[in-house]
Symmetry: C2
Subunit: 138 residues, 2 copies
């Protein structure tokens, strides 16, 4: 059994009740050193590997959306049949290998800051995402 008090505090402090489902999902998403990308489907598989108490699909969706809203997850804009999420919420961009359907972080040091020299009146910038699509070089 892991020490979950950290997650309990984290959840409670952001106004989310620390239910056992949410704590379990926190463990799966945030207990690793390395951050990673996942789809809902990936997460469901991880959950069923990690525990015998199954978590309903609706709860997985609810939780992922709640975590996204609280800033614990980021959604990555890709055209795909499913949504990709990232446990790395720090500023960074992505490669997307369409043939392999593989998402790869780009170290922020490897990207010159993107300068947008125009604004939309009455709007403020929420995020700037760069997606670099790659394919096999022949």
């Amino acid at each position: 059994m892991l020490n979950n008090s950290h997650y309990i505090d984290k959840l409670r402090s952001s106004g989310l009740r620390p239910t056992k489902q949410r704590i379990k999902i926190c463990e799966i998403l945030f207990n690793t050193e390395k951050t990673f990308h996942f789809t809902i489907n990936d997460l469901v598989k991880k959950i069923s590997k990690a525990t015998n108490d199954k978590i309903s699909l609706a709860t997985v969706y609810n939780t992922v959306h709640a975590f996204k809203k609280k800033g614990y997850l980021k959604e990555i804009p890709i055209n795909s049949d499913q949504s990709y999420f990232d446990t790395n919420t720090s500023h960074h961009h992505h490669f997307y290998d369409e043939s392999q359907k593989d998402l790869i972080d780009i170290d922020d040091a490897d990207v010159e800051p993107v300068k947008i020299n125009t604004r939309i009146p009455g709007k403020k910038i929420k995020s700037v995402e760069v997606l670099v699509k790659v394919e096999d070089a022949e």
Copy 2:
């Protein structure tokens, strides 16, 4: 009646048979001075406004995908419940107003070229897309 020989040539030269459905869709997509963004649903509505001969949904999907493949349309990577396409195939980026679900072109002159100082071995870059999400400034 418009002069469609241009579209007929365009279609034929790219190996697509110039059917009346494809020509009609060309008229709707490419007859305007200004380029624009659309979803499949938007396009279906435009078609039903523009003509009495309805075009089946499957054909609309087929045609949009064929046009995309030929480079007449670009798909814009956004997380959304539906895909967005752009009749502007030149290099440029986008603002996305999530509250209004509104996509806005960013003039390429207003964006400093995005420099990616890393590569994935064996892969070549296919596209670099910047998506700037905005929200209402309070």
